[in-house]
């Protein structure tokens, strides 16, 4: 089935591109606001996320995002009770509830961090198990309360979990037309940014070296619970507008991506902010464009779009995978490429050494030129057919570089090639002599070690070896060491 559709796509490419872009032609101010809200929430989350990641507490965010449900439920109860008790009027209930939700989430967030830590200390429970026990229990309690008293409070569970980022822009503040979610998330981002800048030194030190931080008088406990409270506040502010799923993803994925790209903390924080914002934009665009494509390709009735929050999280994950594969320093591709280059260098040097030794054993005596020629050709043939593809690629590369001449089945060293080969064989035999002088090894072992070390000896080291061995003429096997 997939191949059939692949063919269809290939033949009708222009239409595919068109259908990809069609949804974007209806881009409105609403879409812009969605991206702005998503980006603000993602950036607000990324700031505490960087420090959680460095403190090896990444799962704390996930845990707090679950447990804060309990705080949210508690806030509903409190505000409802206040209305019942006629302390506040129903009209002000909404704003009271927002404040109460924030406070409740912070309290429960710090509480779950504290419970986890005391379980770990008092009960000798391993940290991740303690975290798991606490967050599942508190979340289950929250769920239970919602279900048991659902008549009185209208909490849409789906809304808490998935958020309604699509409708978030509709609720605006006054006549300005600016969505409330923008203000809330922007405010939280501002607070996080200010705190990060003001406490940068303390945060950095306690993340990298808690022991040193404590000796320098930075209160580790306060920093820990402060960070937890800040995380909880950020999460709950973002919850309403973008849902917990986006929050869980944005807390750790952008910082982790940034961590793959740089070694410097300020740069990591900057990058994670950028990545969070890009993910939001990318996520919303792909939420509009991808689903119609997918749904059509698997032949199900037309689907216009997917959850933007989900796609933003997916986009962040996509960027992470990109960084993991293509990152400039720690990317897998770079590391594989470097390893390949090293393997090829070693293979080329082995080829050079092999040819040099063949010339040695079959010296071109003029009288017997033909037979020595034949002998060398056959032994080269044997070498190149018994060795791996790496040697073949290496031979080809060496010919292009002009270090070898002849054909693939009958390769010969050029003068430059012979010079390089001589250095290599010299390294090999000097190292063998060095081993023979200083180590009591069986004769067979010299060769194995030299076969590896020969590729990594630099000129200074060679000179040093030569000096140490009093400029030897022959190696332990009795073969001449080339000058």
């Amino acid at each position: 089935m997939s191949s059939r559709h692949l063919v269809k796509f290939n033949t009708k490419q222009p239409t595919t591109v068109n259908s990809l872009l069609t949804p974007l032609q209806t881009w409105t101010l609403l879409d812009t606001w969605i991206v702005v809200i998503g980006a603000l929430a993602a950036m607000a989350c990324a700031l505490p996320g960087c420090f959680l990641l460095l403190r090896k507490q990444s799962l704390m965010g996930d845990a707090i995002s679950h447990t804060s449900l309990l705080g949210v439920v508690g806030a509903f109860f409190v505000s409802h009770w206040l209305v019942e008790a006629k302390v506040i009027s129903p009209t002000t209930e909404l704003s009271v509830r927002h404040v109460a939700m924030c406070v409740g989430a912070i309290v429960v967030g710090v509480l779950s961090a504290w419970l986890t830590e005391s379980l770990q200390k008092l009960g000798n429970v391993e940290s991740s198990a303690a975290l798991g026990v606490v967050f599942t229990s508190l979340f289950a309690l929250g769920l239970l309360l919602i279900r048991a008293f659902a008549d009185n409070v209208h909490i849409d569970l789906d809304c808490v979990l998935y958020g309604e980022i699509v409708t978030a822009p509709m609720e605006t503040v006054g006549k300005s037309g600016v969505p409330r979610a923008v203000i809330v998330n922007g405010f939280v981002l501002l607070i996080n940014l200010l705190l990060t800048i003001l406490l940068f030194k303390e945060l950095r030190l306690s993340a990298f070296d808690p022991a040193l931080a404590t000796t320098l008088g930075i209160p580790a406990q306060t920093m820990h619970y402060g960070l937890m409270g800040l995380t909880a506040m950020t999460l709950v502010a973002a919850f309403e507008s973008v849902g917990s799923i986006l929050v869980i993803a944005m807390l750790i994925i952008p910082p982790a991506t940034a961590y793959l790209l740089t070694d410097r903390l300020p740069r990591m924080i900057g990058l994670s902010l950028l990545i969070g914002a890009i993910s939001a934009a990318l996520g919303h665009v792909s939420a509009l464009t991808l689903p119609p494509l997918i749904s059509r390709s698997i032949g199900i009735a037309d689907v216009q779009d997917a959850s933007s929050a989900g796609m933003m999280a997916a986009a962040a994950g996509f960027l992470f995978v990109l960084a993991m594969l293509l990152g400039p320093r720690y990317g897998l591709a770079v590391r594989v490429w470097h390893r390949l280059l090293l393997k090829l260098r070693i293979a080329s040097e082995d080829v050079l050494g092999q040819l040099y030794r063949m010339e040695e054993t079959a010296p071109r005596v003029i009288a017997d030129a033909d037979s020595s020629d034949v002998r060398q050709r056959t032994s080269w043939h044997r070498y190149i057919t018994t060795h791996s593809w790496k040697s073949r690629i290496a031979t080809w590369l060496l010919m292009r570089r002009g270090w070898l001449t002849g054909s693939h089945s009958d390769a010969r060293l050029t003068d430059i090639g012979r010079e390089a080969a001589r250095t290599l064989v010299r390294s090999h035999r000097l190292w063998e002599s060095f081993l023979a002088k200083h180590f009591l090894l069986g004769e067979g072992r010299f060769h194995e070690s030299a076969e590896q070390v020969e590729h990594f000896l630099d000129p200074e080291l060679l000179a040093e070896l030569d000096h140490d061995l009093d400029r030897p003429g022959v190696d332990p096997h009795g073969r001449a060491i080339p000058k």
């Binding site: 026990v133 869980i248 199900i300």
Partner: protein, 462 residues
């Protein structure tokens, strides 16, 4: 609205009794199947937490979400109407669940991002993709998500018998398998290198354990919901850990706790239909966890607190008796301190209390305990006599203290002024064999007698 209002419901007692007496076929099946699930969860979880990998189950359950949605979409595409079959959905969940685990492993071994962050990244990514796919499902014509949503929040009570047979069957298979490779798994958890040296294929065993964990997680999705299923594998073994240090007992106990919390959750939630079954199951487990945390025999808080207290009491008692002896010694002369002669003189409580500067409350507590235990008797308003038993114990305490002091003085370069304090800590933990050895080494001046103090008593208590 409160619990009492809930109970006022007429049909409630009826529901509860039906659930308890297992009158419904469906309740019986659900109870049996879910209990099996709890048992297998506890059993597999016991090994998982020993390998410090308990939270991996959380990642698996979140990673299952896109698989469920994809399986639904694909199944609907090929044969409309089959999308809600539990088998198909679980298969999809299995594929992406394993994919999530594989990605965690890849991130952990190929990048510089370590354990917890790798879990968090994979969790966020898969859950995001899953959420997006779910909204796609929701918007297809056939995709009424209600059936799929049960996977997120769990819906034990409304499980149909066919699903439960599947869940129960797989659970039993996991339990049997776990029992079959019990020895190998225990070795893997405690000493991986040793297991490898003994010729066990540790990688395969590890893979098997992971596979079992993934399986239990996925079959638990429908009952408990993906947000809480990790609790099935996490809470029972963590609770069992408080009771024992023996892996065999621990895993059996974990299985029992898992089974009980699942059974309890099913019974409770089928009698109170408003309670979410998954949450009730988890909370039942949490209650058992709390009980274990407090009362667990091996690591529980209460037993540990009690043994700590008992030890402190023993120390206080022997300190008190030693103080009595040291008050009487100058009166009697150090050669005349036989148990009988020690009982003759009265000890003034005020004098006694200042010898070691006990806090007032502590001192009165010590005296009261000693009187209750028959070591001291009240003879006048503020005067006490040692009983014969008290006198013998006092001699023992002093002997232990002085032997160690003499040992420290003769065998170490310790400053003589520190000797008394050094002995204070050690005297309480010397056992009879060590005492005999000490006496032998010190030349056995006074076997079973009390040696004279190597320093003036006035210096004691500093």
């Amino acid at each position: 609205m409160s619990a009492s209002a809930l109970l006022a419901d007429d049909s409630l007692w009826e529901l509860f009794s039906r659930a308890i007496s297992l009158r419904d076929y469906n309740t019986r099946v659900v109870l049996a199947g879910t209990t099996m699930l709890g048992i297998s969860g506890g059993l597999v979880g016991a090994f998982l937490i020993l390998r410090k990998r308990a939270l991996a189950a959380d990642v698996v359950s979140h990673a299952a979400l896109p698989g469920i949605a994809l399986a639904f979409l694909l199944a609907e595409r090929f044969s409309p109407g089959s999308g809600r079959s539990t088998g198909v959905l679980l298969l999809g969940a299995f594929v992406t669940g394993l994919l999530g685990m594989a990605m965690t492993l890849a991130i952990r071994s190929w990048t510089r991002i370590k354990d917890d962050a790798a879990l968090a990244v994979v969790l966020g990514l898969f859950f995001g993709v899953g959420t997006a796919l779910f909204t796609v499902v929701q918007k297809t014509k056939t995709g009424n998500v209600a059936g799929l949503r049960d996977f997120v929040f769990g819906k034990t009570a409304s499980l149909v018998a066919a699903d439960v047979w599947l869940i129960g069957g797989i659970s039993v298979a996991v339990i049997v398998l776990c029992g079959g490779v019990f020895k190998e798994l225990s070795l893997l958890c405690f000493d991986e290198e040793f297991a490898a040296a003994r010729g066990y294929r540790t990688t395969m065993l590890d893979g098997l354990l992971t596979l079992m964990a993934v399986t239990v997680t996925l079959i638990g999705l429908q009952s408990v919901g993906l947000l809480l299923v990790v609790a099935l594998l996490l809470i029972p073994p963590t609770a069992a850990r408080f009771w024992t240090n023996d892996l065999k007992i621990m895993s059996i106990l974990a299985a029992v706790i898992g089974g009980v919390s699942c059974a309890g959750g099913v019974v409770l939630s089928s009698s109170f239909p408003r309670l979410a079954a998954g949450a009730v199951i988890v909370l039942t487990g949490s209650v058992l966890f709390l009980v274990s945390l407090v009362f667990g025999k091996e690591r529980g808080l209460f037993p540990r607190w009690r043994s700590q207290r008992q030890f402190e009491q023993r120390i206080g008692r022997s300190d008190l008796l030693r103080a009595c002896y040291e008050l009487l010694e100058p009166i009697l002369g150090s050669d005349e301190t036989t148990p009988e002669s020690l009982t003759i003189y009265e000890i003034d409580a005020l004098v006694l209390s200042v010898t070691r500067q006990w806090p007032r409350g502590r001192f009165h507590g010590l005296i009261a305990t000693a009187v209750r235990d028959g070591l001291l008797v009240l003879s006048s308003k503020d005067g006490y006599h040692l009983t014969l038993r008290g006198a013998e114990e006092a001699r023992d305490a002093v002997r232990r203290h002085r032997l160690w002091e003499i040992y420290l003085l003769t065998q170490t370069d310790l400053d003589p002024r520190l000797v008394d304090r050094g002995a204070d800590g050690i005297e309480h933990v010397l056992d009879p064999d060590q005492l005999a050895e000490l006496e032998r080494r010190l030349g056995g001046e006074s076997p079973h007698g009390v040696p004279p103090s190597p320093h003036p008593i006035g210096a004691s208590g500093t």
